[in-house]
Symmetry: D2
Subunit: 420 residues, 4 copies
C-alpha cells in the first residue's frame, strides 16, 4: 500500500449562500460520507456576507471569497496539499458555463448542477476544454444516484425486460402553479430567460426526466414531438410540457414535466415496459422498485432485500428497512466523483482515459460532459419541436440544425408585447 | 301512489354466450340490485347452444333465440306484460349498430356496450333513430358508475379545483403484449378491423379514458395530436397510443392508452389539476379519491366517509370500509337506466324530453347517444391525427371532415402487403 | 343430463327491513349471481310495513309476513315447487337461535348472520337440531368469501410458508368511538346485552377475526389471554379488546379488535408468519395478497394475475384489474351454499354426509355449524379470560368450563350501579 | 456576537470498527450537517487494526486507540482546543455502561446507543454520575429524530386528537427468523445474555417502540401484561414479544415486537387513537403522517407540505418531495446534541440546569438519561411480567420491585439444560 496518508478531497463552492436551496444540498451530500471537506467558497458577491456565511460553515475568513474569479486565482496560489481540488457550481444556470470554464482553466475539477450550460453551443465548447485539460467533470443528475435506479439499470442491461417497447417518464411538480409562487428566490431566476435560458420547466426538471430515461434504459432519444405550455399570465418561459419520444432501438415513449400540477411534490416516476416484464420506480418512495410480469405475481424489490447488483450495493449505507433518500442519492454522486478524483491523482494516465464522460458506461459512474451535451440538446430540441407545426422533430446534437427561439428573441418579443 | 304493482324491468340480451367476457358482467350488473330480470337472449347462432346456455341462466327454451332478429320478432308478439322491454347488446363492435337499430325499430329500449357503433356515420344515424322512436338508449361507460367518479365530478362542478389547467388520463393494460396473447376469443375480434373497426386500443379503452376525462370535468376536447403504434408483428390495428389534448376551456391534457404495457392490469387513472387543487383517482383502488392542494395536507376521500354528494350516495350500497368494485359500478349504470325506463313508461311525455342523451347533465345520468357520438368521433379523429404529419388536428363531429383510414383501406393494404 | 329444468334456489328472509344494514347486503349477495331468488320475507312485525317493504322488492303481498313463525307455517303449506327452501336470518343476535331452530324444524335450510346464537349453549343445541334434521346450515363469515383469502388458505395448505410461527389479525373500526355514535339502529342493539349477548366488539367483529385466522391457517386456538375494555361512559359491553393467542400447532398470535379506533373504516387485516415466508392481506384492498420472503423480493399476488388455486378461481367473476369487493365475497358464500342446496336435493344421501359442518375442509366450502360453535366459544372464552386475573385461559368448547359473566349478571350489575 | 470563531464539535468513537453496523451509521449521522468532526476512536482492541481502520476515516495514527481507557486518558491530556469533547458509544450493550461511566469521569459528554446499560441498576447509577459531573448525556432513540414524529408529537400536545384512548405500536423484523441468521456479527452478541442482557428482542427493538409511544403521546406506561417467546431452538433470549399496556392517563395500548416475522424489514409503526382523531406513522414511509377523523376525509401530512411545527422544521433539510430518511433522523439527534454542547460550553450555568435529561420536554430535545432509565425499566418489567402467571404487572422504576430472571440465571439454566 501507498505510504502516503490519504486525504479528503478539498472542495470549493461557487454560489449556494444564504437562502439558496441547492447549495446546502450539495454541502450535505458532499460531507455525509466524510470523504470530502469544504475548504473555501464564493458564496456571495458581498465580502461581508461571504465571510459571515462562511463562518457558519466553519471556514476561515481568508477562504471566503467575494467572487469565483478571486477564489480560483487565490486558491491556485496555495500549497498543493492545501488548496481546493474540486469546484462545485451551484449558481443559477447562466453562470454554470463561465464558472466551469474558468475553473478548468485554473486546473480544478468541476462538479456542476444541471443544466450544464445556458446553451448547447456552450456545452460543446465545455467538452473541448475538458478534453484539453484532462480534468474531471461531473453533472449532478441526482436521481441517477438512487440505489434502485442502479438496480433497475442493471436489470435492464441483463435483459430481464426483453426488448423495450415503451418508456413513460413523468415529473409533475406544483410549486410554480400560481402568480404568487413567483416571488421566491428559486422561482425568480428560473423564470428569467437571461438566467435560466430558453426554458424553465424543461431545463429544470424535464432534463432530469430525459436523463433518467436514457440512463436506465441505455437507449437514446432520436426524435420527438413536443408541446410546451405557459400556464400563468406574463410568463416568458414554459412551466409545463409534454414530449412524445422515439428511441434509437425503435422503442417509443412519453415524457411529462410540469411545475403547475397543484398538489404534486416532486413526483418523478419512471416506467419501462419490455417484451417480458416492466419496471416502475417513483422518487417519492425511492427504495422500492416494482418488477412486473405479464402473468405472474409482481415483485417488489426493496433496497437491501435479496441479491442486489454490485453498483446498487455501492450506493447503500443502511440495511433493509432503514430508508435512504434524496440526500444519500446526491451523496452517491459526490462519493463516486471523489473516488474518481483520487484515482485521477494516483494515476494520471488512467485518469485521462477514464474521464467522467465515460462514466455512464462504468458500473457506478456519474453523468459527465456527454450527458451535459445531451441535456442541453434535449432542451433546445424540445423548444424547437414545440414551436413547429409538424409533429415529429429529429433530435440533433448540432446546434445549427435545431434553431429554437433564442433568449434574445424571447426577451425582445416580450418587450414588444409590453410596449404595445 | 300508483295502485299497479311495480315489476322488474325485463331484459333480453344479444351476445354474451359461452366464453364471452362482457356478457356475464352485464348479467351480474343487471341483476345485482333486483330491479331487472333477464327474460330472454340470443346468445348463440346455434339453436342448441343457445338453449343449453339459456338453461344455465334459468331461461325457458322458448325464449332462447338463435338470432337477434328472431328474438325481436317473437318478443314483440308477446303480451305487453311479459315481453322484453330492454335489449342489452354485448356483441363484438360490428354488430352494435345493426342490433341497436333493429331493437329500436321494434320498440325496445337499448343498452349497449361501447363503442356504440363501427363508424361515426352509424352513431349519427343511430341518434336520428332514437329521436324518431322516443326510446331510451344507454351506453355502458362503466367507469362513470363509480361513486368516487360521481364525487369527483360533483366537486369539480362546485369549483373546488378552480379553473382546470391540465388533465392526465392514462389507461395501460398488458394483455395484448405478445403474439401469444392473440389467440383468445377477446383478442381475436378486437384485432380484426371487420369486427372492431379502424382501431383496437383506442376503440377498446382509449374511448373510456376520453369519456372519463370529459365526464368528470365537463370539458370537451377540441383538438388533439395523436400517435398510435403497433407493437406486435402483423397486427393491423393500434395496440397503443398517446394523445395530447386541448379542451374547450383552454385546458390541456394527455391521454395514454396501451394494451402492451406488460404487468399492468386495467390501470385506468385520472388526474385533474386546477388552479387551487387537484384530484387523482385510480380504478384499481376505486373507493379512494385524492384531493390535493398547493400547500396543505392532501385529503383522502373514501367512499362513505364524510359528507358525500347526492349522486355519490346514490351509487353506494355498503357503509365505509366495505369495498365496492367494478361490478357495482357497472350495476349503477343498469340501476339508473332501469329507473329511467320505469319513469319513461309511467310518463311518456316526460320521458321523451328526458332521453338518455341528456343524462350526462342530470345528477345521476348515464352516458347516452351523445356520448356514443363523441366516442366514435374520438376514435376517428385520433386515427386521422395519428396519420397526419402535422402536430395538431381539430376534433370534429362531422365524418366528412375527419377522413381517417377506412376499414377497407386497412384490410386492402394488408392484403397487398401479404401478396408481395 | 337431467331432464328436469333447474330452478333458482328460493329464499325467504327474516329481518332486514327498512333501515337495516345487513339485510340489504344479504339480498344483493344472494341475487347477484342469478342462482337464488327472494320469494318471501318477514321484514317487519307491522303487517303494513312488511307488505310495503316487500313491494319494493317485487314480492307479492301474500308472501310478506308479519312474523317468522307465520312465514314458516304458511310457506310449509305451499306447493313444494314454489315454497321457500332456504331462510336467511339477518336479525339482531338474540333472534338468530330461535329463528334458526324453528326454520330447521319446519324443514328449511338456514343461512345465518354471525354470531350464530346468543350463547354457546344455544350453538351446541343448534348443532344437534341440524344433525337431526339433516338440513344445511351456513354462517356468513363474509371475509372467508374473498378470492385472495381462498388463495392464502391454499398456499398455506401447500406449505409455502413452512411451519407457522405467528399470526397477527387485527380488526379496528371507529364507528362506536363516541356517545353520539350510539343512536343509530346498528349501534343500539349491539350495545344491548339482551340483544347482542355478553359482548359487543368481540361478538360483532372479533369473531370474524378469530374465524379468519383459523380459516386461513387451519390451526385452532387452544388458549388465550384477553383484555376487553369499554371506552365510552355507561356502556355495558366491550367496544375494544386485545387477545393473545396460542394455537394447537404451537404457533402464537395476537388478535386486536376495536370499535373505537377513530378514523378506521373496516380495517380487517391478517398477517401470518411462517418459517420461510409470510402473507399479508387487508380487507380494504382485498384483491391484493402479499407473499414475503426472508431475503428475496416480495410478491404481490393480485386476483386474476398468474396461476390461481381452483378455489380462488371459483370465487372470481372478472378478469384481473376489475376490482371485486365485499359484496362479491358475500355472494360467494351464497353461491356456494346454493350449490350445496341443489346437490343436497339431487342426492340426499350425499347431502347428509356432507353437511355444511364439514365445508371448511372442502375446497370451496363455507363456514357452518362447527364454525358457529367455535365462534360462540371464542366470545365466551374471551369474556371469561378478560375477567380473570391470570394471564392464560384454556380455550374450551364446553360451556360449563368457561363461565363468563352472563347477560343477567351484566344487566343486574348495571341496574345496581344505576340504583346507587 | 462572540468574537471567538465557532468550531465543530470534536467527536471520539468507542466501537464501530470493521464490520460493525451501527458505528458507520453514527459517523454518517454525526458528520452530515458539518457541525461535528470525528477526531479519534477506539475502534478495535488490535492496535494495527485500529490504525488501519482509522486511516480509512482520515484519522491520524496517534488518535486511533486500542482501548477506550487509553483514548480517554490520552485525549484528556491534549490541549483543550483540540481534544475530543464528546464520546459516541456504539459497542455491544454490555460495554455501554462502563464506557459511559469512564467517559463522564474524564469529563467528556456522552452520546450512547440504546439500551443505555445492561441493567436498570446501572442506568440509575449512570444518572447519579451525570448529575455529579454536570455533563451532557444523549441516547440515540433514532426514531424520535424523524420530522413527522416531531409533527405528530406537536399535534398531540396541541390536543388535535382529544383524549387519547388507544396506542398501537408494532415493530416487526424478520432478520432472526432462522438458525442460519445467527451467524452474523450483529446476531451473535444480541443473542448472548452476557453481551445483550436479559432480553434480545425487547432490548433491541421493543425498547424503541416503547420509547416512541411515550415520546409522541407524552404518556407513561404504568402497568403491562407481557408474553415473550423464543422461536428458534437453543436460543436463550426472546426473539419476539407482545405487551399489553396501560398508561398513566387511563389510555391502553399494545406493543408488538418481533425479530422472527419473515419478510418484514424494519417495520416500526405507530398508531394513536384519540377521542376526535387518530394518527398513523410508519418508519418505512417516514415522510408521511396520517391524520384521520371520525367522519371526514383523512389527511396525509407530508414533510414540507403545509404549515409545520417549529420542531418539525428544525428536523428538515430538503423541500417537500425530496425524501429524507433514517440517516437524517439520526443526524437530527446528533445535530441537536451538538447544539446543546455548544450552548453548554458557552454558558455553563444554563447547561447545568438544562441537562439532556430534560430534553424530552424541550421543543427539539433528544432522549437523555431519564429515557435511558425508563428504557431499562421497560426491559426488566417486560421480562418479569412475561415470567408471571398473573395478567397484569405494575411498571416500576425500582429494580428491587421488578426482579426478572437475571443474566446469571439465564446462563446457568442453559448450562444445566445442556449438561443433562
Amino acid at each position: 500500500m501507498n505510504s502516503v496518508r490519504p486525504k479528503k478531497v478539498r472542495l470549493g463552492m461557487v454560489g449556494g449562500g444564504e437562502g439558496a436551496f441547492i447549495g446546502g444540498i450539495h454541502r450535505l451530500a458532499a460531507q455525509m460520507d466524510g470523504k470530502i471537506e469544504l475548504v473555501c467558497g464564493a458564496f456571495s458577491s458581498n465580502p461581508e456576507k461571504a465571510k459571515a456565511f462562511g463562518k457558519t460553515l466553519f471556514l476561515s475568513d481568508e477562504r471566503c471569497y467575494a467572487s469565483y474569479e478571486e477564489m480560483f486565482a487565490r486558491e491556485a496560489r496555495l500549497d498543493r496539499a492545501e488548496r481546493m481540488e474540486l469546484v462545485a457550481i451551484v449558481t443559477p444556470n447562466h453562470l454554470h458555463f463561465p464558472v466551469a470554464k474558468l475553473a478548468l482553466e485554473y486546473g480544478f475539477h468541476v462538479i456542476s448542477d444541471k443544466p450544464a450550460t445556458l446553451t448547447l453551443d456552450q456545452a460543446i465548447e465545455l467538452k473541448s476544454i475538458i478534453e484539453k485539460t484532462g480534468l474531471l467533470y461531473g453533472l449532478t443528475h441526482t436521481y441517477t444516484g438512487y440505489p434502485m435506479i442502479k438496480e433497475a439499470r442493471h436489470r435492464l442491461k441483463q435483459g430481464q425486460l426483453g426488448q423495450i417497447k415503451k418508456i413513460i417518464v413523468e415529473y409533475p411538480q406544483g410549486w410554480l402553479a400560481s402568480k404568487d409562487d413567483e416571488n421566491s428566490k428559486q422561482a425568480s431566476w428560473r423564470l428569467d430567460p437571461n438566467k435560466a435560458g430558453i426554458s424553465c420547466c424543461m431545463a429544470d426538471i424535464g432534463i432530469h426526466a430525459a436523463n433518467l430515461a436514457e440512463y436506465v434504459t441505455g437507449l437514446k432519444i432520436t426524435s420527438l414531438c413536443a408541446e410546451l405550455t405557459i400556464n400563468v399570465e406574463n410568463r416568458l418561459l414554459d412551466d409545463d410540457g409534454t414530449v412524445m419520444l422515439r428511441f434509437d432501438s425503435g422503442a417509443h415513449g412519453i415524457l411529462l414535466a410540469s411545475q403547475v400540477c397543484v398538489g404534486e411534490e416532486n413526483s418523478l416516476k419512471l416506467r419501462v415496459y419490455g417484451e417480458h416484464a416492466s419496471i416502475e420506480w417513483s422518487q417519492l418512495e425511492p427504495n422500492s422498485l416494482w418488477l412486473k410480469f405479464s402473468d405472474q405475481a409482481s415483485q417488489l424489490i426493496r433496497t437491501g432485500v435479496g441479491q442486489m447488483a454490485e453498483e446498487t450495493l455501492a450506493c447503500m449505507r443502511t440495511p433493509a428497512g432503514h430508508p435512504e433518500g434524496y440526500l444519500e442519492a446526491f451523496a452517491n454522486i459526490y462519493l463516486q466523483f471523489a473516488k474518481q478524483i483520487r484515482q485521477h491523482h494516483d494515476d494520471n494516465t488512467v485518469a485521462n482515459s477514464t474521464n467522467a464522460k465515460d462514466n455512464v458506461n462504468a458500473s457506478c459512474g456519474i453523468p459527465g460532459i456527454d450527458e451535459a451535451i445531451r441535456g442541453m440538446a434535449f432542451i433546445e430540441n424540445v423548444v424547437a419541436a414545440s414551436q413547429s407545426e409538424f409533429k415529429w422533430h429529429n433530435f440533433s446534437l448540432n446546434p445549427a440544425d435545431i434553431k429554437p427561439r433564442t433568449i434574445n428573441e424571447i426577451t425582445r418579443d416580450n418587450k414588444e408585447a409590453n410596449d404595445e
